[in-house]
């Protein structure tokens, strides 16, 4: 019996060693707006380092609730900077690892070509019925959109026509399906390889709202995880940044 179990232990140890040599894994909670770039980054990250990043997507608020309740995520790529800060304060993650991996670009977008002008003057018009905006209570892009409307003095005029997406992905869906003729979404959702995929857009100037700083943080579960450290490093590297930039984010 004893011989058998020690044999098993050796086998298990050998398997562990083999997997360590191939690279360890890390599971990453990713804010919805960063879905597309992160899928690409994870693919090249695995090629370059041998580490595997398993991705879960969702609204930052929901991801936080899951992390606070023991979800086994190793890294959080949030859509803003306040949740990673909160996580560091509450001891759920390592504050020293926190950094801004991307700065989000808000865009007023329509699926229809020529519908949204380059200065966003379409917001003054009354011939559209619905404008899709992410819930400003939950989504940083929604908050930035409301700040933009405030700055333009259009809040009262536009508010009755607002339809809310629960997160930026659902907001995009409302516009992409044509049910809302226009909406505030993340540039990353409508941009690919450095250009607008379809439709028309107004790039909202950064001066119209507080910066959408998207922060990353290593969580408690992955404090000693080599793959997690490697991914945080990789996100700062040229290869990842080129991908991130191609989706319209800044640094």
């Amino acid at each position: 019996m004893r011989g058998l179990s020690s044999g098993k232990a050796i086998l298990v140890a050998a398997l562990f060693a083999a997997s360590a040599a191939q690279g360890a894994g890390v599971s990453v909670a990713v804010a919805a707006n960063f879905t597309a770039p992160m899928q690409k980054i994870a693919a090249v990250f695995e090629q370059d380092t041998g580490h595997k990043a398993t991705l879960s997507f969702g609204a930052t608020g929901k991801l936080y609730a899951q992390i606070a309740n023991g979800a086994p995520f190793g890294i959080l790529l949030a859509a803003e900077d306040s949740t990673p800060e909160k996580i560091a304060k509450e001891g759920l993650g390592d504050g020293a690892t926190r950094f801004t991996y991307a700065i989000g670009q808000l865009v007023l977008w329509s699926k229809q070509a020529g519908y949204v002008d380059a200065d966003g003057k379409v917001l003054n018009k009354s011939d559209w019925k619905h404008i899709a905006i992410a819930n400003p209570k939950l989504a940083p892009y929604g908050l930035a959109a409301m700040q933009t409307l405030d700055k333009l003095g259009l809040t009262a005029q536009v508010q009755p026509r607002v339809v809310q997406g629960e997160n930026i992905a659902q907001t995009y869906q409302f516009v992409a399906s044509g049910n809302a003729p226009l909406g505030f979404v993340a540039l990353s959702q409508v941009m690919e390889d450095g250009r607008l995929r379809e439709g028309s857009a107004w790039m909202v100037p950064a001066s119209m709202h507080e910066a959408i700083r998207q922060d990353a943080i290593v969580l408690k579960a992955a404090q000693d995880n080599a793959a997690a450290a490697a991914l945080m490093q990789y996100l700062r590297g040229d290869k990842a940044r080129a991908i991130i930039r191609s989706y319209g984010y800044a640094f």
């Binding site: 608020g61 619905h130 939950l138």
Partner: protein
């Protein structure tokens, strides 16, 4: 410490939910009575496929129903074209849109109890009434309907409760507009996402109590023999 009672928005969501469930239930009973009657009595080869389509909402995730309704009712979808050509507003983001979604979503909960009630009835009471000279309409309203009453009670309660408990379809179709499409389940979701757990508890706890009361009601209203 201030007890976090329900806010005006919470109350608006509750009122809206009850309105939605009430209207949906009335529509479902009107729509499903002839449908269930047909399913219970027809020998058509369409009985199987039609019955299966009616039961689809039972097995499909609400996200599928919500997504397809959003596409179908949208400006490029056939229902969207229809409402447009009729001079009506497009349905997504409106209360009538939610009613349509809820009717689809809760359809099996109305059809199936009615169909079972009509089937259990059998032909005999109707044939007897016919030999006594009752017209077909007469037979339906004075014989079939009263005898199928438990089926109607079950259908009404289940449709109402299932609509109150609806989430995915409303979320995808509604656009979360206060007083128009923001129902209780969406309000709870928002509270939880915004980490307002105290407010979420009041509403969520209320839902649990409501669901329990409804199921007890269903139990007590059944005729003694069925219980």
């Amino acid at each position: 410490m201030n007890p976090p009672l329900l806010s005006p928005e919470d109350w608006a969501a509750i009122t809206l939910t009850l309105e939605l469930a009430g209207i949906t239930t009335v529509l479902l009973l009107a729509l499903c009575t002839p449908l269930a009657w047909w399913l219970a009595h027809t020998r058509s080869r369409w009985r199987g496929p039609v019955g299966a389509v009616m039961a689809l909402p039972l097995v499909l995730p609400p996200t599928v129903i919500g997504f397809y309704l959003l596409v179908l009712m949208g400006p490029h979808g056939p229902i969207g074209h229809l409402t447009e050509s009729l001079g009506l507003r497009r349905l997504p983001f409106t209360f009538p849109g939610l009613v349509v979604g809820s009717v689809v979503y809760s359809l099996p909960f109305a059809v199936q109890p009615l169909q079972r009630a009509f089937e259990a009835l059998g032909r005999r009471p109707l044939d007897v009434a016919a030999t006594l000279g009752a017209s077909p309409l007469d037979r339906f309203f004075t014989v079939a309907l009263p005898l199928a009453r438990p089926g109607f009670i079950t259908a009404a309660i289940l449709s109402f409760a299932h609509t109150v408990g609806e989430f995915g379809v409303v979320l995808m179709l509604g656009g979360n507009i206060p007083g128009v499409t923001r129902v209780v389940s969406v309000q709870i979701y928002d509270h939880v996402e915004a980490m307002e757990y105290a407010q979420a508890h009041w509403l969520a706890g209320g839902m649990v109590v409501f669901a329990f009361v409804v199921l007890m009601l269903l139990h007590w209203l059944q005729p003694k023999g069925v219980r």
